[in-house]
């Protein structure tokens, strides 16, 4: 599995170059612990999630609401409230379908724009990605995109780091219209030695 860990290392290093963070976690309990600490540290008042595994979402909900912070899974809220919640959320947590190591990119598909807006509107975006879904190179996406765009109407978002601009005197500023911070949680398996 050496190649695998090289890909993982590359992905993490590219993410960090972009000003994003990566956390490698093994178990659901670790993820819940990590995220509830994170949410508290950030002083968030409302967290919105979409596309997480059922069990994970319900455990997260328990842990986060127990601290007096609101937590909603988009699937569970009244559709009429969605827009308001999206506008107000401090942190958006989403799943990620794939990632590309050489560019540090996340690939997230969404069945509707509530899901897509979750990684656009809140100032902080957390993405949860299974380790085995990291591809080596950007060009590896061709077949997958052909299938995805050929058979469904899901919008595909490729996200590479936090929102940024260099429009004023080329000075890089993070967090223009999209999230100011991007955190990636990679599930399953630690870096092997060497």
């Amino acid at each position: 599995m050496k190649a695998d860990s090289d890909v993982l290392k590359r992905f993490i290093s590219e993410l960090e170059k972009l000003g994003a963070t990566a956390e490698l976690l093994e178990t659901r309990t670790q993820v819940v612990k990590h995220l509830s600490d994170f949410v508290r540290e950030k002083g968030a008042k409302m967290v919105l999630a979409y596309g997480l595994e059922r069990m994970l979402s319900s455990e997260l909900s328990k842990a986060i609401t127990s601290m007096g912070i609101s937590y909603f899974d988009i699937n569970d809220v009244d559709r009429r409230d969605l827009r308001k919640l999206l506008e107000r959320a401090d942190i958006g947590i989403t799943g990620a379908d794939l990632a590309v190591a050489e560019t540090g990119s996340l690939i997230i598909t969404s069945e509707n724009d509530a899901a897509r807006l979750l990684s656009c509107l809140p100032p902080i975006h957390v993405a949860i990605l299974p380790r085995e879904n990291i591809l080596d190179s950007f060009l590896d996406l061709a077949e997958w995109l052909r299938k995805m765009q050929g058979t469904s109407k899901r919008t595909v978002s490729v996200i590479t780091g936090p929102s940024r601009t260099a429009d004023i005197e080329l000075e890089i500023v993070l967090g223009v219209h999209g999230p100011c911070e991007l955190h990636v949680i990679i599930l399953g398996g630690a870096l092997s030695e060497g």
Partner: protein
């Protein structure tokens, strides 16, 4: 030229010192970041990109049909707009019939091209640009001055003043603070907009997908919040497959901003459901307007079709010497920068393209840096030709293009002509009669031509099979004859049989000013003479990089790729690249003197950049023991004869371009400057006062064991 006074615009722009400083620093920074990001691309991979662009254009008709079917199958609106007016009409109609009030836009040069905002505002819609740079430009009532950095001409101070003047909000001159303010200011607009308008970086025909690349995230909000999304995309952006799309997408951010990948790539093939303001979801309408506006007829134009391969990365802006001092408002119409000249021709016509084409000095750096290898100089010269044929060429351009007969005359009468040309009366006459700036010091003519001086020197050596046909070009032939003598001597020292076939000047000035028929005649003559020797196994060598640039790249464009032209091109070598090859194959005589402790600055001529990636002169300077500092600001601004043109037509711009190079050389403490181009030499000597030498003079002295100046 359609009411444009280019000279007045140039003189105004050159007064704006802070803009020049900003542009200069920014463009250099972008160039260096871009070069670093592109370093991993091999020649083979770049050739593949070029092939993809070519193949995409060749299959355009099929792709259009495929796209239309896919989009209609997905329930989207599809409209093929023949003209800018048609495209605007369609958008206005969609907006009107759906009760739209507020429109948010993501950055799109295609909507600038069709002047959509003007039309929408006239119809009473509120139109808000959301890309930070575009928003600033809109607030200032200006046009974008750069493809990927639209507000690069504004400083942070000007920006905070602009926001205060227009919105009454006082902000510190700090990009972070401005960005924070704009985030909040525009967020509300996004949330309440009825319609989003975007361009598109590609459209993938096989799945009917729009691909939108942004960094700020405004493209995502524009396509995810409003209930209607209209994308306006030039028809040349169609690619066939995802394999093709990804290869281009992979190179785009690297070449554009030096990013490995852009922050956001949005890929969609229909409108999706969006949470609406009043609760629940609405199904978004998605319309794709495919814009022709001159593109399809350009596709039939053997010269201009090349421009359609452009992926709009803007790398050519960063290296363009005149753009770097004048900015995109002067060096542009609506499209700006080098690629903007043929693009203006395609979408806004010959007159508008020709209105700023004279600012191109044919250094060719745009072509050299373009990831697709688009030949902008040839298209720009062709635009100058088409304009000149219709409206007449400028007097000064004709004179400078036909310089060779004047040079011949001056050379024949050398001591007298040198004396006369040095007088202020003669300089005044040259300025009035020809248009050469009176501040230009013309070079001293040699009393004897190089051919006369080489009489008896070019004797064949029966024992050698190393054969070189030397192409001198005018400067070494009439003026810098010592360069010609040294070249022959060094080649002979290395056992070469050197011949000098009959030849004329390379024709670069004619090419530069669009006198392509004259350039063609020179090219035909030179190819015919050179081929005589190439067919007998000779290599062609010149110490003048521009000459080889012409033989290799310009002549095949002017004459077409016949067997003779092709073989001459393939066998033409710039002197130091040629010597380096010999060195690497162990064939170079290394018995030359070393000059340890000597300090020099090296300036790389633009045309050399095309000929070899190895920077052979630097390697030789190192071998000679010379401590050479490589100062790389790109083009020195001379552009052959262009920098001699009077005032704001040439000289003043040329001087502004040279400024940072001149300053760096003056500060360097070097004993002299080395460069292999005779016109760069003139430029650097006139503005630094330092001695500039061709490297072959150093090598020749080193073989002879003589001291150097």
């Amino acid at each position: 030229m359609k009411g444009r006074n280019l000279i007045a615009e140039v003189s105004e722009a050159l007064k704006n010192k802070s803009q020049i400083e900003n542009l200069r620093t920014s463009m250099l920074c972008m160039r260096d970041k871009r070069d670093a990001a592109m370093a991993g691309y091999s020649e083979k991979e770049l050739a593949e990109l070029r092939n993809i662009r070519q193949a995409s254009l060749s299959s355009l008709n099929e792709s259009i049909k495929m796209l239309k079917d896919k989009l209609e199958e997905n329930g989207c609106g599809f409209y093929f707009a023949k003209t800018a007016k048609d495209a605007c009409e369609y958008v206005v109609n969609v907006a009107k019939t759906r009760g739209v009030k507020r429109i948010v836009k993501a950055k799109s040069m295609t909507t600038e091209e069709i002047e959509l905002n003007k039309r929408l505002v006239a119809e009473g819609f509120e139109v808000i640009e959301t890309d930070l740079g575009e928003w600033l430009v809109q607030l200032a009532g200006q046009k974008p001055s750069h493809l990927t950095a639209p507000a690069i001409h504004l400083s942070r101070y000007e920006i905070s003043k602009l926001i205060e003047d227009r919105l009454g909000v006082r902000l510190p001159a700090d990009p972070k603070e401005v960005t924070k303010f704009v985030r909040a200011f525009l967020r509300e607009k996004f949330l309440t907009a009825d319609m989003g308008i975007t361009g598109g970086n590609f459209v993938v025909a096989e799945t009917g997908s729009l691909v939108l690349v942004t960094n700020e995230g405004n493209g995502r909000l524009v396509t995810a919040l409003p209930r209607i999304h209209v994308a306006i995309v030039g028809v040349e952006k169609l690619v066939r497959t995802w394999e093709d799309a990804l290869k281009i997408l992979n190179v785009l951010p690297k070449s554009a901003t030096g990013q490995n990948m852009a922050t956001y790539v949005t890929i969609l093939n229909s409108g999706s459901e969006t949470p609406s303001l009043d609760g629940g979801f609405v199904e978004r309408e998605f319309h794709l307007v495919l814009l022709d506006n001159g593109r399809l007829s350009a596709l039939q134009d053997t010269v201009m079709s090349e421009a359609l391969k452009c992926i709009r990365c803007s790398a050519c802006f960063n290296v363009c010497p005149t753009y770097r001092v004048l900015g995109g408002h002067v060096f542009g119409y609506i499209y700006s920068g080098p690629t903007g000249i043929p693009w203006t021709y395609i979408s806004h016509g010959l007159e508008n393209a020709a209105s700023y084409a004279p600012l191109c000095i044919s250094c060719g750096l745009c072509r050299e840096t373009c990831p697709i290898g688009i030949d902008m100089p040839t298209m720009i010269s062709e635009i100058k030709r088409r304009y000149g044929e219709r409206n007449g060429y400028r007097w000064v351009d004709r004179r400078l293009a036909g310089y060779e007969s004047l040079v011949k005359l001056a050379s024949n009468t050398a001591p007298v002509s040198n004396f006369l040309l040095g007088t202020s009366m003669a300089k005044w006459i040259l300025e009035k009669l020809i248009g050469i700036d009176r501040r230009v010091n013309l070079p001293k003519f040699s009393g004897k031509t190089l051919r006369e001086l080489l009489d008896g020197v070019l004797v064949p050596r029966a024992e050698s099979d190393r054969k070189v046909a030397y192409f001198a070009d005018s400067m070494a032939y009439y003026i810098d004859v010592d360069v010609g003598l040294a070249t022959v001597n060094v080649l002979q020292k290395n056992g070469f049989n050197v011949v000098m076939p009959p030849q004329k000047g390379s024709g670069m000035p004619s090419f530069l000013y669009g006198l392509l028929d004259d350039a063609k005649k020179l090219a035909e003559y030179n190819v015919k003479q050179m081929y005589e020797y190439v067919s007998k196994g000779y290599d062609i060598v010149s110490a003048e990089p521009t000459a080889i640039y012409c033989l290799r790249f310009v002549y095949p464009k002017l004459l077409g790729t016949t067997k003779e032209v092709q073989e001459v091109a393939e066998r033409s070598y710039e002197l130091f690249g040629y010597l380096l090859r010999m060195l690497e194959s162990g064939m170079l005589d290394l018995s030359f003197k070393r000059y340890n402790g000597v300090k020099a600055v090296y300036h790389l001529p633009c045309h050399s950049r095309h000929l070899s990636k190895d920077r052979p002169v630097l390697k030789f300077l190192e071998m000679l023991g010379i401590d050479a500092e490589f100062i790389d600001y790109g083009c020195c601004g001379m552009g052959g004869t262009w920098g001699m043109k009077k005032g704001y037509e040439g000289y003043e711009i040329s001087k502004a371009i040279a400024e940072p190079l001149v300053m760096a050389i003056s500060k360097s403490g070097a004993d002299f400057v080395v460069t292999e181009c005779s016109l760069c030499k003139m430029q650097i000597e006139r503005f630094t006062g330092k001695k500039v030498v061709h490297p072959i003079l150093l090598l020749d002295k080193a073989y002879k064991g003589l001291p150097i100046p």
